[in-house]
Symmetry: C2
Subunit: 298 residues, 2 copies
């Protein structure tokens, strides 16, 4: 979308410049590409962190309800990545995506069932953007509370997870903790997927190659081989195919109850998080590259 706008603007200014987009977004919601650079790494961070929280919640014998909030206003790709943790036996019991209308009563009943079955241990993951059938964000439920007295001007009652954890505390009378992966999920480069990093590098190189060769108004896209073994190919697609189209999780990849993902999603996502890529370490901490501007070599 940004590419499209930049390209049109430059044309209007009679400035000759070839524009090739790279579909970088951890949200993974762009059309015309199998997946997006960045998604595999964010998905890997989210899956690993969810597994670790799962383990932490099982250290004590007391009931423990955790609501983990993952980025995603309209598409649940990042939240769905927590299904990879469940696939490994250490993940959420319930997953709520923006693709499915959220119903508070059903939610409470879902959680109660797991709570009773699992001796009070429940891990729930939610997209920040879940909405009720009236189209209202669940995160807005909290602002009802703060509306009356707004001493800090912009204060609000936290996000989706906090609203849900508060509700569960009230209903179940137990400890319920809200955890937001927040910015960490988009910047945790120490946890990157090697597959993602390599594909992203190739996508960038191809974009420069196409632009220099005279092509414009296109985007590099990933295409997956239709073979048992994962293989990612690169192609270019017209920007108009991509602009303003938002790719959501297909309904058939979500289970019937709308609280989990099917094997089809696991098959889609698991190859994207393979391999470890960590920045070089120095004194136990990452050494970030400081880039100089140099002319691209093809």
């Amino acid at each position: 979308d940004t590419c499209n706008k930049i390209s049109k603007y430059l044309q209007a200014q009679n400035y000759e410049c070839n524009i090739i987009g790279v579909p970088k977004t951890i949200d993974n919601d762009l059309a015309a590409t199998d997946h997006c650079p960045g998604y595999g790494s964010a998905a890997r961070y989210i899956a690993i962190s969810t597994m670790e929280v799962y383990l932490d919640a099982r250290v004590y014998d007391t009931p423990m309800v955790c609501v983990l909030e993952v980025m995603g206003r309209n598409a649940g790709w990042l939240t769905a990545a927590t299904a990879l943790a469940a696939y490994k036996g250490a993940g959420p019991d319930l997953i709520y995506l923006p693709e499915i209308v959220f119903d508070m009563d059903k939610f409470i009943s879902d959680v109660k069932k797991v709570y009773e079955k699992n001796n009070g241990k429940v891990i729930i993951t939610v997209s920040e953007g879940i909405k009720d059938k009236a189209g209202r964000y669940i995160s807005e439920y909290g602002s009802d509370l703060a509306k009356e007295k707004d001493a800090f001007g912009h204060a609000q009652l936290g996000g989706t997870a906090q609203v849900l954890a508060s509700k569960l505390k009230q209903v179940l009378g137990c400890k319920a903790r809200a955890i937001e992966f927040s910015l960490l999920q988009r910047c945790a480069s120490h946890c990157a997927s090697k597959t993602d990093v390599e594909e992203a590098f190739n996508a960038g190189r191809m974009a420069v190659k196409y632009a220099v060769s005279g092509i414009t108004d296109h985007m590099v896209a990933y295409e997956r081989d239709n073979t048992p073994e994962y293989k990612c190919n690169y192609k270019i697609v017209n920007l108009s195919e991509v602009a303003n189209a938002e790719k959501k999780i297909p309904r058939e990849w979500i289970n019937e109850e709308g609280t989990g993902l099917t094997q089809a999603f696991i098959d889609y996502a698991l190859p994207l998080i393979q391999g470890e890529s960590s920045p070089p370490m120095e004194n136990g901490l990452p050494r970030f590259a400081k880039l100089k501007k140099v002319k691209a070599q093809i």
Copy 2:
């Protein structure tokens, strides 16, 4: 403390059992030991994540104020670990610890200075347990807001970071984001310090060895060699030396303004986060060990 209680209870029950404590706590606040098993790994996770947030905040040219909340009710060891990120040039501008009385006016003035100097980029790290001079937790400031209407029963306005971010939004009129490391800081085993993991293993082995040899009511403790190169030795100390004593950061390791750490802290903490220790990976995700109960071999 727990060890002490267990030991006294078993003695009262005439149950013969040798008790040797291991000072495991990421809080690092136990007396009679140089540092605690767990601290190095949590400190490493916190330092790395802070560096990543720093980098993320510099991606855009717009002002960005981030308040990162770290665990620690009375001792600031974990929050102080963010000074390691600053030492690497990608850390907080301001650090607020429970060891220093928190003053909201001074805080706002501190932040304003950095905000103007750094073109609106400010990274602040705070301990959850900072208090004002009346002894009131800053996190409680938020509940004033929610007091009026408490629809969810237990709802409250998030934690310390959220209170401060709301305040800064109001005062500076810019985007201010609150991030809590929450449970992640105590369970992120994918980010563990190798030094910490090895020392913890040794501490556990020594505890068993001493207990079997007939010693009781003691704790394994770490002692650092007084040499330029870091070396950790192990000793045992009497439980009574440890019980109910809380080790805080020495005042001279905190800068005069109370908003940062001195080189003495860096020298203390940096050796503890050296080396990488990640659980074995399988399909890009950690494989957690499932332990069977077996008799200890010395």
